[in-house]
Amino acid sequence: MVTVFLVRPSGKREEKKEKDPALEGNIASAAELQAGDRVVYPNQGVCRVAGLEQKDIAGQRLEFVKLTREEDGASVLVPLQKVPSIGLRRVASAEHIEGVFHYLGASYDDPELDWKVRHRDNVERLIAGGVLGVAEVVKGLHSLARLRPLPAKERELYDSSRHLLVSEISVSLGIPPSVAEDYVDYALMPPAGVKLPLKPPPKPVELKGPPWKRKKAAAEEEDDLGLSELGLDLGALEGEEAPESGESEAPEGAEGEREAPAAEAPAKPERPAKEKKAAAPRAKAHPKPSRKGPKRAPAPKRPHARTGKAKAGKAAKKPAKGKKK
């Protein structure tokens, strides 16, 4: 018998990214770099290329690009093959930075209230979104902070993304960082009575994150739809038994999901589905209390949905077992 192992070459994903360059200024290969160049390493800030360096690691001779972070002089070694895939890019031009200010000064969008989606998007924007992506993270979290205080992790992310944005603007425009920060906040929260001379902002960054994540997100949405179909019946159930289920089913992660329908309900017609999604766990929790008491009246409503049928079937079998005993 022959066993075949399928091994994906490690560079396959990188090749895909090379074919699909995310943004202008991205460095597609190490050959574009020269000693003394200023580049931006995502999540690290502005670095200066120091040169090439060879190192023996685990018996292999590897070649690295050596970068020196301008902020504190820390050294960063990037393997040559990894240069196209880590999101290394040139420092944004002054024109590009001006677009960023127009974006920051534009009116606020509704912040994403689902923390999972928000976190995933923010991380992707910081890595692959260029300077505009960083500005999007700052503005998104700033607009969220206007509604409620940020959780500790996001407060740190807000601070670090602000730091990255300020340092890149400072380098690009050749001004001190504190002046760059004043510019950023002047755009984000102009003084009373000041009207900013705004132009149409540049298009926000389209996220092209790892496809498996996107597929997963899409699958979750499909699940939502399925549950919402269920919810049509369970909503009625909830109306009858909601006071019994109480508040015990409020996990931390569900916070965003619970708030989303309230804030965005008028904007999107399919939002009620999210409400049903929030109601779904409650509905699942119903059978537990109902075992004790004779409250089985809603059972005939369930056969509309597949899962409902299954549960109703199980529920029907259990009392029969009890009778045998």
């Binding site: 200010f101 902070a145 206007r146 940020l150 004043d182 510019y183 906040d185 929260m189």
Partner: protein, 181 residues
């Protein structure tokens, strides 16, 4: 150590309140080290002073590594104009550096009543905390109750708080602990 240098006459009571507040905010010793003349070379044709140039030309003060020097003045400051205009300058600090400049030009008049003097002192303490915070590498904060909130923000109250919020306080404490001396 935070060293305060005055480039204009200031009331001793105001300076005493300021040193106490800075000590409470950052937990490092604070003292008024004296007066220095205002460098006239930083004055612009419109009568305002270029904050960057002023901080560059101000006479030096003897200080140790990691000491922070705050210069107090009462002249109108300006910073370079940005893509969307010139933000109002309440001061200027070298981010993560050792020198900051604070101007009382935009404050409400000090007046002679106890209430107005108190408002003036609190505002002075707030602005100095803000710019010393920049010296400890703090960024602006979205919370209007924090001293690191931008000084011109419309959400800032008329008599704003002069304390740091929990995040900024922790960050500044971390920076101070990591300081060399």
């Amino acid at each position: 150590m935070i060293r305060i240098v005055t480039l204009a006459p200031f009331d001793e009571g105001d300076l005493a309140f300021l040193t106490r507040t800075l000590y409470r905010s950052f937990g490092v010793g604070t003292e008024h080290v004296g007066d220095r003349p205002l460098p006239k070379g930083a004055e612009r044709p419109d009568g305002r002073f270029d904050a960057l140039k002023l901080l560059d030309e101000v006479p030096p003060v003897r200080a140790f590594a990691d000491d922070k020097v705050v210069y107090l003045t009462d002249v109108e400051l300006s910073i370079p104009e940005g893509p969307l205009g010139e933000p109002p300058a309440w001061g200027f600090a070298l981010q993560g550096g050792d020198r900051a400049l604070v101007s009382t030009y935009r404050f409400a008049p000090r007046g002679v009543s106890e209430a107005s003097i108190d408002v003036f002192r609190r505002r002075l303490a707030r602005e100095c905390t803000h710019f010393v915070g920049h010296l400890w590498d703090l960024h602006h904060c979205y919370d209007p109750r924090c001293a690191m909130h931008p000084s011109w923000s419309p959400s800032l109250s008329a008599n704003p708080e002069h304390d740091l919020d929990a995040f900024c306080r922790e960050k500044s404490e971390r920076r101070i602990r990591l300081a060399k001396t």
